[in-house]
Point group: C2
Chain length 478, copies 2
């Protein structure tokens, strides 16, 4: 073990011991063993994702993982401890994990149940009435199914925004993924509900051995009033967390805000202190040039999650102005949004669509190169969740995805970056390691009993999709 | 066997016996047995795709295939001949095959080798120079790899447009797929080359037990002069086949044609007799309202193949005007184009992107419903290739794809149509039957040795991607 890795591990343990002082200790996987476990991925190729420039592949490497960190990456054939767990990586490409920076994970319960409708009808006639049927148990089951789908697809971390946040957190903790969880809040729910989200955010931030973090989760400037936004922002600053909010989701919302209030949704976030607190903005397709100065001022604490599949399906032009935001220094990342719109939680598809729709929107085939796209999905995603540098390197986090580019749809592989961006399907993911723990090995999920989860979910379907007159969680009229 | 099915089989055999009189008899799979083989898919659900209205699913059916036709579809539990081959379809959904209506199958050899460049550089700096390296053996190997990928993805028929057409035809014949093969022709190749394509088209049309048909394949109005187009059209009429051609690929080509010649590419097709011969137009994104009257006049013999992934990647707006063309009565179908642009031959992705980009382009989330999209891909695809009604029904062709919607990315299935359009990946395809022959069973390819094909292809990569100064098949300057 290198000195620097040992220092990092010691520091990590110190953090964990500190976290023991909060409750939910059952999810703090602090080891009582004298030495951390060792895991070796043998003979894989390794994708490197630098901060700038081209991504590249180093061939035939051994990745040695000690505890939850990468100890070394070196040419294959290194000698390892006989106690080490060995994963055969030959013929596979190791990549950092994908990060889904905006979803509502339990909405996998509703995939396919709201097709071919515009956004207002999608909310008011389909999704919000169906969501009024949800119980905490439904959400736990849905979140677990979502975790299974994400692990199977090589997503190692996600930013969630939903109700029954405790149930989601427990599902994430048991699944072994990383997540930033924002409890959804509408002002229509009242101050007590807001206080409950604050309490959740404080209690769960750093839980599950640090794999779970939290954000405040006001739904949107059009469903949360300014006083509540200001309170949310103040609480986020107090807790040292950020705000995850839908804002400027589309240009109609921006126009509506300008008409009703004379300011854009981004200006609302500024006036209420949300920008100052640090924010993960979902969608941002309605961000306009007059917002740019504000965003530039807050660029280091602002990320925007772009989810192009739902903009296509809802026929909502334009897309997130990705290039402009990056020019401002604002972090941009990819997400799926909930599966009631996106149908799957496939982040390969999200990243591919982001690249393609940005090329199309800017009429420039040379933007969003394969390297830039991989970087946005992996480094941009990690930054949006406040995670560290995700690149696979000694001392880095052991969040590793092994993908198989051997299929007929990838061969011959002239360029692994192009294969990752334009050819991947989730079934090409073979093995997934998060925080040093193997969550899927050669397509076998190790932390989730998927047949049981699916059977549980299917039992709930009929009740969940029954639409009851007058019953809805909210009304969409931004 | 019903009388009508027996009549159809007899008619089909008569056709085959007629085809024996041409050469290439080795691909004519005329059975010498007294009775045709029987195949039963037990207990599957069946997707029905009507000419209009909603698609629907009939559950728990047995599909009985006799020879190359569907004999019956009835509630599971029917008694069948002890000699019948049984496929367990429980938990699977049977659908018609997907039809890839525009591709250059051997270009799988170049996937990922020409990324992030605009269309002129894509042709002139990457693809056409690389293609000048191709030998007939390379094309045979590439076509076989493409066939493997298409079978694995549930594509049962495709329209190909490429060089070394004999090699492609042999690969298709051995793989067991259906294909319409158009030998690519540029005027720069001279009259002898044109005559050779005519000879190929005549000789191979109806070969491989009728699974192979042919079209004339002039490349485009900007690479084939009017005299050659007129000759091609005349030969197509003589042979009773159609013309497969790139035309109005993008709006720049239409503008350029108007500027150079005062007429649109579609008007060129009209003046040279190509529209009269019947035509499969690749792309058609540059079709303009002034073309509509001509297209309406030829609507019953015209199809347009739309391949949205490559328009996105090449940043070429607008998309094919799908809704307008359908209003004119022109057939519209989906395709991938070559994998050097599309990366894969995934028709599920093509159909999904077609639906999404049409919603986006028309700013109407209600167009291209899931039923309309499935219909376009399946019925539209079959029509574009001159195949009959592909719906799964007694007397229909035994081109059947069994898909598994049991994965975490599909569950729970509220709507199988939505799952097919918005959630499918090719790995969800379990079993593929074409013309009554099982080409893949439970993911095992039965007609292609994929590892051998991939090894063969990989050996060719370095030579194929070497770009030699001044060596190119053509120059792009439409």
């Amino acid at each position: 073990m290198t000195t620097s890795t040992r220092d990092r591990l010691t520091a990590a343990r110190g953090f964990l011991l500190f976290r023991r002082s909060v409750n939910d200790c059952k999810f703090l996987a602090v080891s009582s063993e004298p030495s951390p476990s060792v895991l070796v991925v043998r003979g894989c190729d390794v994708l490197r994702v630098p901060e700038t420039g081209e991504c590249w592949v180093v061939t035939n490497q051994d990745i040695v993982v000690v505890g939850n960190l990468i100890e070394s990456i070196s040419p294959t054939g290194s000698s390892v401890s006989p106690a080490a767990q060995i994963i055969d990586g030959r013929g596979l490409l190791a990549t950092p994990g994908l990060v889904n920076t905006h979803t509502h994970s339990p909405m996998v319960l509703f995939r396919g149940a709201a097709e071919d409708v515009p956004v207002a009808a999608w909310f008011n006639e389909r999704v919000w009435p169906m969501e009024s049927n949800l119980t905490e148990d439904d959400v736990a089951a849905g979140a677990l199914l979502a975790c299974a789908e994400m692990i199977q697809g090589g997503t190692t971390a996600f930013a969630d925004h939903y109700f029954f946040e405790e149930a989601i957190a427990r599902s994430v903790a048991s699944a072994g993924l990383r997540a930033n969880i924002a409890p959804t809040y509408f002002s229509s729910r009242g101050r007590e509900a807001l206080d409950a989200t604050v309490e959740f955010a404080g209690r769960w931030n750093g839980a599950a051995a640090g794999r779970i973090s939290t954000s405040m989760g006001p739904h949107a400037p059009y469903t949360v009033d300014d006083d509540d936004l200001a309170e949310v922002a103040a609480q986020a600053r107090r807790l040292g967390i950020r705000v995850h909010i839908h804002a400027s989701e589309n240009i109609d919302q921006t126009r509506s805000s300008l008409q009703r209030r004379g300011i854009t949704p981004i200006e609302v976030l500024s006036r209420t202190g949300v920008l100052d607190a640090g924010v993960l903005i979902a969608h941002g397709c309605g961000i306009v040039p007059s917002d740019y100065e504000l965003l530039a001022t807050h660029s280091t604490t602002t990320s925007v999650a772009s989810c192009p599949k739902v903009y296509l399906k809802h026929a909502l032009a334009p897309m997130t102005p990705v290039g402009d935001l990056q020019q401002l220094g604002v972090g941009v990342a990819a997400g799926t949004d909930g599966a009631a719109g996106h149908n799957t939680l496939d982040m390969w598809e999200s990243m591919r669509l982001l690249a393609m729709t940005q090329k199309y929107q800017t009429t420039d085939a040379m933007v969003m190169t394969t390297s830039d796209t991989v970087r946005l999905a992996m480094r941009g995603g990690a930054a949006a969740l406040g995670l560290g540098d995700p690149d696979l390197r000694p001392g880095g986090p052991a969040d590793i995805v092994l993908v198989d580019l051997g299929g007929s749809h990838h061969q011959p592989v002239h360029d692994a970056r192009a294969a990752l961006v334009y050819g991947m399907q989730t079934s090409d993911v073979r093995t997934v390691i998060v925080d040093g723990q193997v969550l899927m090995r050669d397509r076998q999920l190790l932390t989730i009993d998927l047949p049981e989860v699916i059977a549980d979910v299917v039992d709930r379907v009929k009740r969940l999709t029954t639409i009851r007159e007058g019953s809805s969680v909210q009304f969409y009229n931004p």
